[in-house]
Symmetry: C2
Subunit: 403 residues, 2 copies
């Protein structure tokens, strides 16, 4: 038996498996689709049932943008190799280096690409904890209670290097107390949380300015969806990155490609991180992913980015206006969570929506607290306003029927 | 300060950074190349220097096989989407499902694909530790001392669920003692180790049969390079996988694609693992990677697999015959380690070889023990016999010059 300081499979697995079984029994898992018409019309290949996918993190639909897809094809065609299959900090394709430069230019700060944002967190957080990003002794690392699994997973590893604390969600008073108590503190959080809700960026920034607190922020759900170049939510406050701030994000969500990026203000950390932990010994971004990322950069530099961002904002406004009377979390955000209570009702709602042509994910403990199960849905900028209106009408009907 | 039970950045980072700085100062890091002529002739884009890459894990050269590259292009062209950007156990492309079927047929057991082998280890090991793959209480998890970073990284996470031990390398007596002492034991190891040397498969199998020991084996460096269908080294002894054995491997090395696979005998574990940990909440294999993996399966089913395997074996035999008098580890294997002693000499050797047209990686603590630095080189099945002969001649000359 382990000490179960940070996790406990014996407690978690039976609860979540029971919920997944319920979802599977209702046909809501293991759906296999054809996506050649984009995510507004996926087709279940076994039943022929067509539906609009409201469970995709590709919030702008760039994953099916022709420029992105074609750039992946072009990269494979030009390079004629899937990747070098070696440590990228030793030798890498010139295309990989070009990608770093273009990402850095787009986001106005040094950027390291990786195969996933989770790999970045696994590489960075233990080094942050031990003081190797701050040239100091170890830091006290405070994880926000709602920080994503990919960060929470690394807690026991971080705890072997430094003290780890978990703060109540967005609790600036708790955080300030920690900053007063310990000389060196890092805060690990998200920008736009994956189950809805925003970080208190101004509060975090104030603590950074007052106490020198290091901020490690995962902005995966906001990258591309906002900012003039799609730099995300966190950069709206942390405009210039310095050596006390790192913002990481998935490039497989709204960005439309594959992998993840770390935006770092401290250029000295670039080479160091490139060869550290899983970023050193695991796979780098492969040729096709380099291509689709370059393709997405081209779209980010075009007018289309703003158009899709605006359409997304309009869809969010439509949803918020019409759904005011319901128990929905995530006002102002493209990630909405409709709380219904127990697992059965969550699956019923998800299933009823699916039969009417919309896939929304039923979500259970441990993703949300026990007894707060529901349905998560994500609006997209490649949905038209009328698609959004139609969806909301169906959602209202189904919720009213099931009330 | 953390307890440093399993890791200690303060001890490791300064030592390894000093060595990397030495390598960087000698121009052996951050080399940017054009690879359009495959790995036998990479070109440094800044100097024009051409060289043969002996540091790639693409041991059969399938990463630049036209069938593999074209299949990646075809997948993007056919699917017109980079990926669904959602939890794959809910909805996935039919192409992803087809890939699972084809991998399972090729390797004769259920196969789960993932974005990397490291992600698979992160997903599986904590669940193995807590008894959720064996329907039991927690297991004592024994990591071989030389198990790869990707497994070692997860030790503190595993230790939060169960007891973790580290065994001397390939020490079957130690392992048997653990099996005698504790009722449930798992052994975590590699097949062909990344710095040369083989697992004692017969010894491991004997302990499994005698004590029911669970075996988790990473065969990344042997997949594709041996076996009639390229099923690797471990499967030569663990032919039929049962519910006490899991073999995982990277598909970005000799396999020539991107990602990793888990070969599992227990079909009941398939759905469970698909939605577990980072395999559930991180990215799945994206469209281009699905394509290149399907392309590599086609090559695996052709005569070319055996041809390249045979050429690799011939190159290994040439090397072993001619290098008998030198301090080289890895006889019989395509991974060779030439020990020279201190860091400076290792970098000098690597640098001298590079000037003569061959890139071999200098390797230091913590990858190898202190004072045992040297150069790692990997032979490939897409090198001709005469390329191998020429390389060995140069290696002999340089070693003799530097002796």
């Amino acid at each position: 038996m382990g000490p179960h300081r940070f996790r406990n499979n014996q407690r978690m697995v039976p609860a979540s498996e029971a919920a997944w079984q319920l979802a599977a029994d209702n046909g809501m898992l293991d759906i296999r689709v054809d996506a050649t018409n984009g995510q507004n019309r996926l087709r279940d290949v076994r039943t022929g049932h067509e539906f609009l996918n409201l469970s995709s993190c590709s919030y702008l639909g760039l994953n099916s943008h022709p420029t992105v897809v074609e750039a992946g094809i072009a990269a494979l065609r030009d390079e004629q190799i899937t990747g070098l299959a070696m440590a990228e900090f030793r030798i890498r394709l010139d295309a990989a280096h070009r990608l770093e430069d273009e990402l850095s230019a787009l986001f106005g700060t040094r950027v390291i690409p990786s195969i996933s944002c989770g790999v970045i967190s696994a590489a960075v957080l233990p080094l942050l904890a031990s003081g190797h990003l701050t040239d100091s002794g170890p830091l006290v690392v405070v994880f926000d209670k709602l920080a994503h699994f990919s960060m929470n997973f690394v807690k026991p590893v971080v705890a072997d290097e430094a003290m780890v604390l978990t703060s109540p969600h967005n609790d600036m008073r708790f955080l300030e107390e920690v900053c007063r108590t310990y000389p060196r503190v890092a805060y690990v959080c998200e920008g736009l949380y994956s189950t809805g809700g925003l970080a208190d960026l101004e509060g975090i920034k104030a603590l950074q300015e007052k106490y020198g607190m290091y901020v490690y922020l995962d902005d995966s759900h906001a990258l591309s969806t906002q900012g003039p170049n799609g730099e995300g939510y966190a950069r709206s406050v942390f405009r210039e990155l310095d050596d006390r701030t790192m913002i990481v994000a998935s490039t497989a969500k709204a960005f439309g490609s594959t992998g993840g990026i770390a935006m770092i203000g401290d250029s000295g950390a670039f080479d160091f991180l490139y060869r550290s932990g899983p970023m050193g010994w695991s796979q780098g971004l492969r040729t096709a992913a380099i291509g689709t990322t370059l393709g997405s950069i081209a779209v980010h530099r075009s007018l289309e980015l703003t158009e899709r961002q605006s359409q997304l904002a309009e869809n969010v406004a439509i949803f918020d206006r019409r759904m005011k009377g319901y128990d929905v979390r995530g006002s102002g955000s493209h990630i909405k969570f409709v709380t219904v209570g127990d697992n059965e009702r969550a699956v019923q709602l998800s299933n009823a929506l699916y039969r009417r042509g919309y896939y929304c994910s039923a979500m259970f403990f441990p993703i949300v607290p026990r007894g707060r199960s529901g349905v998560r849905l994500m609006l997209r900028g490649d949905m038209t306003a009328s698609m959004t209106e139609n969806f909301v009408s169906v959602l209202e009907e189904v919720l009213d029927e099931q009330a």
